[in-house]
Symmetry: C2
Subunit: 134 residues, 2 copies
DNA sequence: GTGCCTACTTCCCAACGGTAACCGGCAATT
DNA sequence: AATTGCCGGTTACCGTTGGGAAGTAGGCAC
């Protein structure tokens, strides 16, 4: 395929379109499969309604920019409700919708898996890196 | 925090370290929460052992570069086994380890959720975008 | 010698994410 | 009156990541 005579690369070209994975589902997965998205959802599901700054404190290491961007996407996708209280100084609260709660539940299994297998993964990495270091 | 007098941004600074989320677990989540990782794991769990090119065909839209990179990471983390058959032309096969299978099972719930809620999310986005377009 | 096969690697460029600074609007302090 | 502080954001800059396309290895078929 790719080589001197092959003018296109993305493997969509040689594929006979297996119709295996629905592109709309892929798109949703692309949104969900994001580190900050998963962390924000997890924090909100554990702590309930939170203000911006509190959410920032609990979502380990996130920058303001990414937090704003992440919650905006979640709001757009109907996973989070953003409530603006018109006071000075500003007060904005975030909480999961029912849809957001259902996603958080689905993601829970992944968090449990990760917590349960941290050591195994770390061991595998050490092993791999040692073999490479020959 | 951030402002004229604030010299640092990443919110780790103002945080009193809630010790809520284990950084090692966060790291694992950071690896798993990746579009191509999730797709490759899904394809391998559905089709069993696959060659590089077949995997590329089934993983909708992935580039060679990202496929190579993704399977290398999965191999390093002990989720995938990479078997090189020393023949010409080259033949390399990939399959999930038991650990990889267990992760694919945990991710299955997310795929089901995504497939089940595609329409709801699309509707929410249309709604959000229309309100913005005032 | 030229073409071909597969699984990569490399180059270039566009998009993403982090860092840190700036903003708005009002109230309390100096 | 001017400065400081509060909170939830933008904005500018810049290094890293990811995509597209072409190049590579190395042996076999023509």
């Amino acid at each position: 395929m790719y080589g001197t005579y092959h003018k296109e690369t993305t493997m969509a070209v040689l594929r006979n379109y297996p119709a295996d994975l629905d592109p709309r589902v892929i798109d949703v997965i692309g949104r969900v499969a994001d580190k900050w998205t998963m962390i924000v959802l997890d924090v909100l599901s554990e702590h309930g309604e939170l203000r911006f700054s509190k959410l920032a404190q609990l979502a380990s290491g996130i920058s303001q920019k990414m937090l704003t961007q992440t919650v905006r996407q979640l709001e757009r996708d109907g996973l989070v409700i953003r409530t603006i209280h018109p006071v000075i100084p500003p007060k904005v609260e975030y909480r999961l919708t029912d849809l957001g709660v259902s996603l958080a539940e689905a993601l829970c299994g992944v968090w449990v898996w990760a917590a349960h297998n941290v050591d195994r993964i770390a061991a595998s990495r050490r092993n791999y890196d040692n073999r490479s270091g020959d």
